[in-house]
Subunit: 114 residues, 4 copies
């Protein structure tokens, strides 16, 4: 997946509708928050077990897919507006986490994983 290519498509989409005026980083962070809220609502009354793919009905899977797409779209847009290289940021973060959560100490423990 070429992130840049998707970001260009989304930028074009916004420009054609004159939506750049709405897409400040502040507003995009709010849009992310709204979409994640909708995602959380889909899982809020389910047990952890029932939230797993084997137990979800098709309608819920389809709604979750929809929310994940929205979250990804706003994430791509926000990174684009801030000139942040998402792929590099993820790579750095994974390397940092490997140091922060050494296998021995973090085995079975999510305590610091926040």
């Amino acid at each position: 997946m070429d992130l840049k290519q998707y970001q260009e498509k989304l930028a074009q989409f916004a420009e054609e509708r004159n939506w750049e005026q709405f897409h400040s980083p502040k507003n995009l962070s709010m849009a992310l928050s709204g979409e994640v809220g909708e995602l959380v609502e889909l899982f809020q009354w389910l047990t952890e077990e029932k939230s797993k793919i084997e137990s979800l009905d098709d309608d819920t899977v389809s709604r979750v897919k929809d929310e994940l797409a929205d979250i990804f779209i706003y994430l791509l847009r926000l990174a684009d507006k801030l000139n942040i290289d998402l792929e590099g940021a993820v790579r750095n973060k994974i390397a940092l986490n490997a140091n922060k959560y050494p296998i021995g100490l973090s085995y079975n423990s999510a305590v610091k994983y926040q």
Copy 2:
């Protein structure tokens, strides 16, 4: 960016620490909500203008980068646990949005963009 490759790296990371027990879709949606909350906090008292890349200080940009990486990591993990093809979901969503927000009607208007 090969999303699958990152998802495998993240899965291995979780397995090595026996963290799969924590990574139910329900819990991962909460983790996303927590990270997005931290992102929103970085922008909450800034004006829209001050939230733009030209106005942010280096420390804030670095913290935003960190949050975007965390959000992306949990998004990749969640999609992986639910067998959802993120790239396909985004492609579908962009096509749907093109119909939902026709250029003429949506010009200058974010009303339905939710």
Copy 3:
């Protein structure tokens, strides 16, 4: 407003529907997150100026009111399930904040107000 009285009403409401099984603190925190997400969506594309009461249309005010009620209801429920005295917690917090944000230092500055 007698918070306790509302909490009892909400507890009775849940018991009559056998909903106590769903109202773990974990789940209630998710419900709060979902409702706040809906609230944020109402403001996400508005400028700060347009988000003020003078500029909001009646429909938006009514939807905001609805979300604030939902947030309050889940907040009351969660505090009740955790035996947390909301009023005492708020009183303590206000006292703490007075020390944390001395008028002189915090004048015009929201930097530490997080």
Copy 4:
């Protein structure tokens, strides 16, 4: 608890620090989102059982109390800025919910409770 009295105290607190400029409804909704995100983080890796008061350690209870206070404070501020009567809104909502979730139909079912 006299909500109005707390709202006046919070308004005075903001005025003394010249913070009214930051407290647009838009910004306050973001602050709520940030605080709820912090609350969710406290519960994200716990099972529902472990999120209950009997199982939480003192430190977590104290942090939860802190977050609930912050959420309540921003909720009171936001309602104040929008001239929304929180107590009335909650009373209306409880009455509406009683119709929306009739005891017979909603017994054991959280399906529509969103």
